[in-house]
């Protein structure tokens, strides 16, 4: 286990610290709540000469991601951060970054998308971005966010992956609240991430290349998309290897999905980010009653570790999936759809319910999660689960 002192920092401070230790070649960013103080703090490190980073202030997030794509196309280690509407404004360039296979590492602090205008936490932004071709890793707290930032480049730059990666954590709940952090030494970080690999880049005037060209002459867009999926398949193993290598250094072992009391669980809830802590507490309370409850915390969402979910949930009688975002007009929320499809494809057949919670920062209390578990318990005992969404802590519901 790590003997590093425990610091009291906000989630945003933790990530800014990690970025300082990584010392990327370039950061291009635009402020947006609740991400702003990640890059604001980082800009102070730049101003104080504590990093060697070229810090590019831009006029929008579309420009921020455009600058990042250009920078990463030279082989420069490139980072940025955003939230919500800023993430939405990056949309076009997110696909371009992924298809050009540039290993940008971005922090996305989860915040609702308007409207009504709302600055608080939910996962509408990045859940909407799940098909952009970026790897997505969801984090519960400041420590996880810090650790995931350190692990970003070894995953994204790996020769079998070479995809951009985004790390998420909950706006305000984690970004602005103070929590414990055990940081690595600068030297440990430097050794863990190593030197950036070299690849044909835009600044090599001896060997000029063309990046991001039109495919119209030869029509290889279709095949390009196939290679992106192949890289995602490869990433599944590379991410776990990186988690394992990080565990050897710190004692903090991450998995694609973090199982809690799942070995003999009859009922289980799958949940992402900060609500996982309360979910585990409710599991403990139910276990004290003799109810075999368990929980799975989502970490790696893209690529999606379907086989691992199928194995983890196969023994359950009823599963609840908590979504802090909705997919309007679909059968349910995005995580629910993913779990439901996985269970069908792998032939596991627990009952599955969808619990929508926390939209626009709505509080999620232990008794709300307990309500979901009670419904799962009833379902395990023979009752039917609703086939439509169950809203937790909605007014009048």
């Amino acid at each position: 286990m790590s003997t590093a002192p425990i610091l009291a920092v906000t989630g945003n401070q933790a990530v800014a610290m990690a970025m300082k230790q990584i010392d990327p070649d370039l950061v291009a960013a635009y402020p947006i709540t609740p991400q702003t103080d990640v890059v604001q703090q980082f800009s102070e490190f730049v101003a104080d000469g504590l990093v060697n980073t070229e810090f590019v202030t831009v006029e929008s997030e579309h420009s921020a991601m455009s600058a990042c794509v250009g920078s990463a196309s030279t082989g420069a280690r490139t980072m940025t951060a955003t939230s919500s509407a800023g993430f939405a404004l990056m949309w076009e360039m997110l696909y371009i970054a992924a298809s050009m296979r540039v290993p940008i590492v971005m922090t996305t602090v989860n915040r609702a998308l308007s409207g009504p205008i709302n600055i608080h936490c939910d996962h509408s932004d990045t859940m909407g971005g799940r098909d952009t071709g970026w790897m997505q890793i969801y984090n519960e707290d400041a420590q996880e966010a810090y650790d995931a930032t350190i692990m970003g480049f070894p995953i994204a730059e790996h020769k079998d992956v070479r995809l951009p990666l985004m790390n998420m954590y909950d706006g305000f709940i984690i970004s602005g609240a103070i929590g414990p952090l055990q940081a690595l030494d600068d030297e440990q970080v430097k050794q863990f991430i190593g030197e950036a690999p070299t690849y044909p880049g835009l600044l090599d005037s001896e060997h000029p290349i063309t990046v991001g060209p039109f495919d119209g002459l030869h029509g290889y867009y279709f095949e390009a998309k196939m290679t992106q999926q192949q890289a995602m398949d490869n990433a599944l193993g590379v991410i776990q290897e990186t988690y394992d290598r990080f565990a050897a250094l710190t004692g903090r072992q991450y998995q694609h999905l973090m199982k809690y009391k799942m070995d003999d669980a009859d009922i289980a809830i799958v949940v992402a980010n900060s609500a996982a802590g309360n979910t585990r507490n409710v599991v403990d309370a139910l276990r004290a009653e003799g109810i075999k409850a368990g929980a799975i915390k989502l970490r790696t969402f893209r690529p999606f570790p379907a086989a691992e979910y199928a194995e983890a949930l196969a023994g359950c009688k009823a599963v609840g999936v908590m979504d802090r975002a909705d997919s309007f007009g679909a059968l349910g929320g995005p995580l629910y759809l993913e779990i439901l499809a996985t269970l069908y494809q792998y032939g596991a057949s627990p009952k599955v319910g969808n619990f929508i919670y926390g939209l626009g920062g709505r509080e999620i209390y232990p008794h709300d999660i307990e309500r979901a578990f009670r419904m799962l318990k009833d379902a395990a005992d023979g009752a039917e689960l609703p086939k439509s969404r169950v809203y937790l802590n909605a007014k009048g519901a």
Partner: protein, 108 residues
């Protein structure tokens, strides 16, 4: 490095460069965009003063100049925007519908 693509139509997904980069630069001239053109510029040699305005204004570098004189338009890349005709101070350039030309380049 030359991009050898004689059989590119048969390339499987893994054969392209990572991110579908092209391992050479300056290759846009190999993409012939003349087929997008609906109107073709025709220059009247008798009226042309060789001021070269068309050469400087052409957004597609499709005015061919040799020995400081306009000699032709590069019809493989001219998209028929008509800027040359609009800017010509001598009104030596006129735009003509592509459908009025035969395959041999002669106007009907």
């Amino acid at each position: 490095m030359k991009w050898e693509i004689a059989d590119i139509q048969q390339w499987p997904p893994g054969k392209h460069e990572l991110g579908h980069a092209i391992p050479e630069a300056g290759n846009s001239c190999s993409y012939k965009t003349g087929g997008w053109r609906s109107e073709r510029p025709i220059r009247d040699e008798e009226v042309c003063t060789q001021c070269l305005f068309c050469y400087f204004y052409c957004p597609d570098s499709s005015v061919i100049v040799q020995g400081q004189k306009v000699v032709a338009f590069d019809l493989d890349h001219c998209k028929g925007c008509g800027i040359c005709a609009a800017e010509c101070p001598a009104d030596a350039i006129t735009m003509h519908l592509e459908t009025d030309f035969h395959d041999d380049g002669e106007e009907e």
